[in-house]
Each structure stands twice: as structure tokens, then as C-alpha cells.
Symmetry: C2
Subunit: 249 residues, 2 copies
């Protein structure tokens, strides 16, 4: 049975995240249904991570053992025929048996978009957090530097998480302005539940002068969720890249 | 009664164009309902032009006589409270009594987006025409030059139009590539029914070698719709700017 790696994009607005759940439509369920239509049997599809309701993916990776491999073009085109327009497969390849979309991942990159303007824009509302206050990009980037490296990020993890090991390594974190949009880009070896959204919410409070950039190390060290900032809303968040060993995959 | 000029943006996907019609939801109807909620009476709202089902607006202008003017911030904020997220007011000002959103217009600019890639992208599907074939931007721009100036554009007008005068002046027309997106920008003193979409469809046929750039003057001169290219689909089209006398408005 060939082991396939699919790369997909999805607009998360109408889905309750990636993972299959009772009484709510998930991206995984819709993708599994399409794969079942193509192969004629129910296959176990492994995703690279969970995502929350309303969160999007520019690159989401899944792996599964298929009964046969019809080549990339035919596999992608057939799956896209069965999928709704807000989920699209854009890459497919055969990988070795040991590959697993989640366990083989070396890390991920997320993007968070803030629409910084007085009034909302209908083209951004599903894809960004509308934030009407002045944003100080330099101050945010001064605070952002303190997140980079290996830390215990318990203070930046939802209280609803059951993660036992809360140590993660952040490779990079920066904010850039492009007109009315502010783009946060963060990469790391792994992320706790709501971690990106709490970091963005905290950095926006830094911009508002409610938290000083120099307070960040202390907030991290406290390991207390209550010391960090608000959780930014889901619709601004995009899983942007999933890193694997380039030589192998 | 103060005469107000509103600038709005809308995502046209869920509307049957601007104009009020029976048995279908239009942007005008939704905006008029919001204005009625704000002022407590049904007001006659004049739009700058018709738009088709699925067509978007980055800038759409309306004018109406209001019982009172509460200032820009309060008027915009109140209307946005009553509007759905896919229609947003972003500017409002008082203009002189003679101003009319349509008759005072000196021209318009449209943008048409083509998503040029093998596979569809869920973030572009409502906002662009997915076109998988190679696109030759230089060839398109060579053909585009022939549209600029004052011509009888009867060949680039839907057969369903009842326009008597089909002479229009095109100020500018160009295509630019930005990654997988191709952006057509066209400005002129006025546009016939489906004119932008037929011009874009024709230019894509030039790119495919089905029409030569040098054939364009002959197609224009023929005044026959059948000699021009296909009508590109509505979801790639954006009304982008409406021009008024800058000194007056």
C-alpha cells in the first residue's frame, strides 16, 4: 500500500477545525469522505495537527495508506472534484512507509493577520482580526524577540489544554505592516493549544502600552496563563507551513 | 435635507448585484434597509452603477438626501451596525445638493483578477477566475493598447444590453502578474454591459494564441459581439474606483 502525503489549503470559516468530532463538521471528515469516494473504502487519514474552528490553512499536510497511487495530477484532480470549494488539494506525492504527517513534522510556521483600520473591510473579515487602535510595530518586534528560543510556554497555553510538557522552541517571530494589514509570522518546533493566538493577543497589548516589552521574560517565567494577554480571535490565524526533512520528503 | 455621499465596499458573492429586483437579494435593498433603520424613514438611495451577481466593489458610491447628518464617524458606525459583514461603509461626507452618485461620476476603474495556477485555491475562488493555461502578459498588454482611446465598443457589449450610444473612452488598460494572480486594471469614462468581462475574456484568448493583438482594431471596428472573445466570469470583477470632480467632491 503506497503511503501518500497530501498538501491541502482550506478556509476554516465553515468548519469546526481539522479533527473529526460528533455533531459538527470538520475538515478531516470532509476530506476522508472525498478519499473514500476516490478509493472506494474508508481510509485512516493522519493530519499534521489540530486546528480550531475558523482557523485557516495555507498548507496543511495529511498522510494515509492508499490502495493504489494514480500519480499526482490524477489524484489531486479527482479529490478536488469531490471536495467543496473551501478545501483544495494542491500537492500529492508518494513517501516512504515510515512517514507520518504529524510525527515526522520538524515544526510549523503560522501567520496571523490583523486588519488595522477604523472601519471593517468585507474582504478581510473572515481572514483577520479587526483592530482599530494604533499599532506600534517596532514596540511589538522589541517584545517579540523575547519569545525566540527554548522556553516553558505554560503561560501561553490555554487553561483547557492537557499538555504535560509545555517546553517549546520558537525559531522566529516578527510583525510586518502591509498597508492596513499587519502580518505576524511565527515558526517553531511545536505549539501549545492557543499559543499563537495568546502570543499575538499579548503583543497587541504591548502595542497598547498595557504590557512592556521587558515584561515578557517575566511573564514567560511565571508559567501562569493569567499573566499573559488576551487570546486573539481564530479567524486571523493561518497554518502556513509544515516542515519535514527536505532530504527525505 | 443634507445630501450625503457614502462610499461602501461589498463582497458580491451572495447578492444579485447592486440594483433592487423582485425575488432576489440586492446590495441596494440591504443598504436601503440599514438606512431606513438609522433614519426611521424609507429614503431614495442612488447608486453609481449597476453591478452583476457575484461582482464585488472596493469602492461603490451612493448618494441620498438624509433628514439629518450626524457626522461621518457616527453615520458610518451606525450603518455598519445594521449591515451584514459582507457590506461595509467606510466613508461618508456631506456634498452639495447637485451631487448625484451616478450622474456626477466622471468615470470608473475596474480590476479583474485571474488566478493562474494548475489547481484552485480556496482563498481566491470567490474573488478570481481560475485559469490554468499559460498566460503571456506581454502579448496581452500589446493587445490591450488597442482598447485605449475613444471607440464604439458595440462588439464588447452584451447582446442583452439596450444601450443606444455604445461609444466610450478608455483611459487605461493593463495586466500585471503578482505570483499566481494576474491583475487587469481598466479605467474609462463609462462601461457598457459586460464590457470589462468581454475585454478580459478576449485578452485571455489573445494569450492563448486564438486572437492576434493586431486583430483587436478590426474586432472593435466590426461592432459585432460575435467577433470578440468570451465573457469572463463575474467573480473576478471588482469596481475599484469611482471618479468625481476632486475640487467639488
Amino acid at each position: 500500500m503506497p503511503n501518500l502525503l497530501l498538501k491541502i489549503r482550506y478556509k476554516g470559516t465553515n468548519y469546526h477545525g481539522w479533527q473529526v468530532q460528533k455533531n459538527a463538521l470538520s475538515v478531516q471528515e470532509v476530506l476522508q469522505n472525498s478519499i473514500e469516494k476516490l478509493y472506494g473504502s474508508r481510509l485512516d487519514v493522519k493530519g499534521c495537527s489540530r486546528t480550531d474552528t475558523g482557523v485557516h490553512a495555507n498548507m496543511y499536510c495529511v498522510s494515509f495508506n492508499a490502495p493504489f497511487y494514480a500519480g499526482d495530477y490524477h489524484t489531486i484532480s479527482a479529490l478536488n472534484t469531490f471536495l467543496p470549494p473551501d478545501i483544495r488539494v494542491y500537492d500529492c506525492k508518494e513517501v516512504d512507509d515510515a512517514f507520518h504527517a504529524r510525527y515526522s513534522s520538524l515544526g510549523k510556521e503560522y501567520v496571523y493577520l490583523v486588519h488595522n483600520a477604523t472601519y471593517q473591510n468585507p474582504f478581510y473579515s473572515d481572514y483577520s482580526y479587526h483592530f482599530r487602535y494604533d499599532v506600534d510595530i517596532d514596540l511589538i518586534n522589541k517584545a517579540a524577540k523575547h519569545f525566540i528560543g527554548t522556553h516553558d510556554f505554560a503561560a501561553f497555553c490555554s487553561a483547557y489544554s492537557d499538555a504535560e510538557d509545555t517546553v517549546r522552541t520558537i525559531y522566529g517571530l516578527k510583525a510586518e505592516r502591509d498597508g492596513e494589514l499587519i502580518r505576524f509570522t511565527i515558526s517553531g518546533n511545536g505549539f501549545l493549544y492557543n499559543m499563537v493566538r495568546i502570543i499575538v493577543g499579548t503583543l497587541l497589548m504591548v502595542s497598547q502600552g498595557k504590557i512592556s516589552p521587558d515584561d515578557i521574560p517575566e511573564i514567560i517565567n511565571s508559567k501562569q496563563r493569567k499573566n499573559a494577554g488576551r487570546t486573539a480571535p481564530p479567524q486571523g490565524l493561518f497554518l502556513n507551513k509544515v516542515f519535514y526533512d527536505e532530504v527525505l520528503y
